[in-house]
Amino acid sequence: MAKLMNAREYEESLRRLKLTVYQFGKRVENVVDDPLIRPSMNAVASTYEYAHRPEYEDILTTKSHLTGEKINRFTHIHQSVDDLVKKSKMGRLMGSLTACCFQRCVGMDALNALSITTHAIDEKYGTEYHKRFLKYLLYVQENDLVCDGAMTDPKGDRSLAPSKQRDPDMFMRVTEELPDGIVVSGAKAHQTGAVNSHEIIIMPTITMREEDKDYAISCALPADAQGITYIMGRQSCDTRKLEGMTFDRGNMFYGGHEALVVFDKVFVPWERVFMYKEYEFTTALVENFAAYHRQSYACKVGVGDVLIGAAQTIAEFNGAEKASHVKDKIIEMNHLNETLFCGCIACAAEGHREASGTYQNDLLLANVHKQNITRFPYEIARLAQDIAGGLVVTCPSEQDLKSPEVGAWVEKYFKGRTDIPTEHRLRILRLIENITMGTAAVGYLTESMHGAGSPQAQRIMIARLVNMKQKQKVARQLCGIDKVDQIR
């Protein structure tokens, strides 16, 4: 019987994990209540809580194709184009409710990619990866788990293949084969939501060749498996979260996190191994994951919704909302944001069925969407800062506003429209700061740039996927170089 956890149950499930987490050089004993990590836990928890709300459940829940039971969509394998479209809508919805990275898409994308690739390997080699995968999927769905999608290796010298690196651990690899499983070592960098996850799904990060076959592995591990250590990444302005619940944190409730995850001789039982040295399937796994994950940047549209709302609000607080250029900038922000939405809906709507029965996005459009994501949020953020004014980077702290000595001056000199409390003005500015250069900018900007692959990765795919021959053929015919083969 599948359980659909709520936020409280999710939090309790995390408390049962025995994770080894380091932050600022010290072991974090209580991960769930750590003030720096907690907002990111809240963001994941919202994917559980909102699944129970009638006004969101249509997007956040669906039926398992394995059991027919109601499950959280974040554990679903897409069974139709409609499922893919709903996934894009879910990204926007959750982004618009949290204004940050809610961390749960990457595991969903790993599951979907594996559902296709395990099937393909079995077709060729008569292996049983797909059967294992489905058993694992059932476990994930029935327990409503968060999976960390762990693809990115540290990679060392970018010009060298895994087997050519001086340090062999620069890419994750198998170090030992045992009768009941394998032993893996290495690390995965930038892992989104790592310490909020119950499971880690490991995938290769690039195409592997025969000489790299020890690196061509995919498997799943419990997040607290022996030998796994998490080293938390820092985010710009992160220690504002240590200042209590002041509005200087910008987003009062939510945030994201990334971590370096180190695997030091970790044992993986065979039933959790989904690819083992079949190096010729690494390209398919990476590309399938990338196509799903590039679609997942639908979330940035939701974050954009909040940023646009904040920009309009500060314009009104400043008394500038009627200026034609301000109105035009808000239009431009919306135009860019909805253009992004077009991309993630289009790649889903043009999706197709794979041999495993899983639905996959249109690869070209997913790459185009992600390429736009590497740019438009930066422009939306620039426009938000333009509208916000310089105070977005110069305003004093909440403590100064509350100070008996200087509070009255902060109140007086940072007032905009007289009917708006100064505190409201400062709060909305802090939110804009948070999204455009604070902790949430990690997700809204730099993750938009590099997450799911740096811009060049999409351009390579775009070049490969467009039908250039057809474009040239028609061009040549219409200008009279070649004979027209169609009736006008």
């Binding site: 009638p54 006004e55 459940e57 249509d58 709903k86 879910m90």
Partner: protein, 97 residues
């Protein structure tokens, strides 16, 4: 139209929302306002409640992508905007009076 036993004058309506990814209005506020305006006339329940004789599908936009399996063949009325909600409330009050 079926009515809740013992309260034969009350119309039982199941409310099914879409997921609300880019709602053009506040769907929950619209339903709350219907609940207030139609109090004593309509009882709003979950769409899975078998007592509901009509399903009100409240969607944030005209794409109206809500999954309507739970309607189980019962008649559907779509609300895709705050104006739709107003119109529907007026219709119900007119029929009821």
């Amino acid at each position: 139209m079926r009515h809740r036993q013992g309260r034969s004058d009350t119309l039982i309506v199941g409310v099914k929302y879409c997921g609300g990814c880019k709602a053009g209005y506040d769907r929950v506020a619209a339903v709350d306002s219907l609940k207030t305006r139609l109090s004593g006339v309509v009882e709003f329940v979950a769409p899975v409640d078998a007592a509901a004789s009509l399903i009100l599908v409240v969607t944030g936009c005209r794409t109206a992508c809500a999954e309507i399996d739970s309607a189980d063949g019962r008649p559907l009325t779509y609300i895709t905007s705050a104006e739709d909600a107003e119109r529907w409330a007026a219709d119900i009050l007119r029929i009821h009076s």
